[in-house]
């Protein structure tokens, strides 16, 4: 494998990151929606959310991907590889993330909700300003693991020739007959992306725990207070 293939791997890495980005954004949004449905006061809504989670949690991602990419065209829905891959990741990981977020939502003491309502805040405000920031902190570690997992799982999209790293590794191998070298290099690229990402999550978590963010937050508040002349 000559230097000829480095640009190919570069593009493939970008595609991997595209799938990862779509998967993370999509599954976080959908996962949060489903988590909120799970704590709904209406039984039917809770039931739909639980059914969704169980269905997607117990179906292989590869099968979901094939249904989307190979199955849907038979009912007239044709999606690009990029969208198909992003959608499969979104649907599957939303199921896992919804469980993580639900645990986070339920981990916020009920008194927080009650205090918000008692202060005359709307339900949307109570969730946005009081519940979700605390849910975020509670779910951070588990969510970080999922994010890394999504990045690694993009490799499955090679099954539809998604053009990401593993697809391009297969193509290069077919041309150079050097599987050992190519797969080790590609494995190294995955590692080089995943390792910093998981360290980043650990770092951010420790920052939250140590109160670095709180200190910065407090300094900003104190500046504002000085501005209105409330403190010296």
């Amino acid at each position: 494998m000559g230097s000829l293939y480095w640009p190919t791997l570069g593009y493939a890495t970008l595609h991997t990151l595209e799938y990862t980005g779509l998967g993370i954004a999509g599954s976080m949004i959908l996962g949060l929606v489903i988590a909120l449905m799970k704590v709904s006061k209406w039984r039917a809504i809770r039931w739909i959310a639980i059914a969704y989670t169980e269905l997607l949690k117990n179906t292989p991602l590869l099968v979901v991907l094939f249904v989307i990419y190979f199955g849907l065209p038979s009912v007239g829905i044709i999606l690009s590889r990029l969208i198909s891959g992003g959608l499969a990741l979104t649907l599957c990981y939303a199921a896992y993330l919804s469980e993580i977020f639900r645990a986070g939502l339920q981990g916020v003491p009920n008194g927080q909700r009650e205090a918000g309502y008692a202060l005359g805040l709307s339900t949307a405000r109570v969730y946005w300003n009081i519940i979700l920031p605390q849910t975020f902190r509670l779910s951070l570690a588990a969510t970080g693991n999922m994010v890394v997992d999504i990045l690694k799982t993009t490799s499955l999209i090679s099954a539809i020739g998604g053009g990401e790293l593993l697809t391009s590794a297969e193509n290069i191998t077919a041309a150079t007959f050097e599987p050992m070298k190519v797969y080790l290099i590609v494995g190294g690229i995955y590692f080089a992306m995943c390792f910093p990402l998981s360290r980043l999550v650990v770092w951010y978590e420790s920052r939250l725990k140590s109160g670095t963010n709180r200190r910065r937050h407090r300094r900003r508040l104190e500046a504002e207070l000085r501005e209105i002349g409330a403190v010296a």
Partner: protein, 283 residues
């Protein structure tokens, strides 16, 4: 069962220290509930519902301080939580001067509920401060996110509220950096930030270490002196005697006795009230 709306001023006032001042003689209660019934359904289908309120009526007039006392399980907390609809009663009426928010199973809509709650402050046993915000932001939140005040204006008022409860030096502190007593004082500042017409206290000192109770009671005393209408669920009978115009003894979901503190706490008529207060006042 309708309760007596006579202003408490007609009761003989004996030995009140930091007394409630002259109780106002007005007509319309700031808040009133009538004939409230509430049962909590059993967890499983085969379990029976627990009836907590069996027809309670209660009101507070302008500037009046009403203490609700009773054994645990008598329905005190449920009653006060119904008063701002954190619990929805099964039947009865809840109304303030401006709103009828509950009328025999009909509850006001989400919009009206939000408006109503801005006029009713609440202080919880567990403080329930928002842990991700500083004291000043806790107090500002209902102003900035509730009634749309600018952050600057809200902070300005938050500062004066926190000064009022003696925490002007803790503006930038997070709840976990404060003692229980300080947290509860922040919670009181937060509850009065929107200048509500009445403040509900649900056992405000029950979660505090004994040495921290005094500072919270002092803040409540000052609030009372300013003429704030207050309804207080409490086990601090001495404080109830000192501060309240009227004491309501709740027993098994009913008002067993109510009247001026000198009657209910010192010379109760009802046998169950007698046995309850004797445990506390050592008679």
């Amino acid at each position: 069962m309708n309760m007596d709306l006579t202003p408490p001023s007609e009761a003989p006032a004996v030995s009140r220290q930091a007394g409630p001042g002259t109780p106002p003689a007005t007509e319309i209660p700031v808040i009133q509930v009538r004939d409230l019934h509430k049962a909590f359904p059993g967890r499983r289908r085969d379990q029976e519902a627990t009836t907590v309120l069996r027809g309670v009526s209660l009101s507070a007039e302008h500037g009046e301080h009403v203490a609700i006392i009773g054994r645990s399980g008598s329905g005190k907390s449920t009653l006060i939580r119904c008063m701002n609809l954190l619990e929805t009663p099964d039947s009865g009426v809840i109304q303030t001067e401006d709103f009828t928010v509950f009328d025999d199973g009909l509850k006001v809509g989400a919009r009206g509920l939000v408006e109503f709650r801005r006029t009713v402050g609440m202080v919880f046993q567990q403080f329930n401060l928002f842990p991700h915000m500083t004291a000043a932001e806790n107090v500002s939140l209902p102003m900035t996110k509730g009634v749309g005040m600018s952050r600057r204006e809200a902070l300005d008022r938050a500062v004066s509220m926190l000064n009022k409860v003696g925490l002007g030096d803790k503006l930038g502190s997070f709840p976990h950096e404060l003692s229980g007593g300080q947290q509860q004082r922040v919670a009181i500042a937060r509850a009065i930030a929107l200048q509500p017409k009445v403040v509900l206290f649900d056992e405000p000192t029950s979660a505090l270490d004994p040495e921290l109770v005094g500072e919270v009671l002092q803040v409540m005393r000052e609030l009372a002196t300013e003429g704030m209408t207050m309804i207080i669920v409490t086990h601090e009978l001495a404080f109830a005697a000192e501060i309240s115009h009227r004491v309501v003894f709740l027993d098994a979901g009913l008002v067993a006795e109510e009247g001026p503190p000198d009657q209910v706490l010192r010379n109760p008529i009802n046998a169950r009230t007698q046995s309850f207060v004797s445990q506390f006042l050592g008679k």
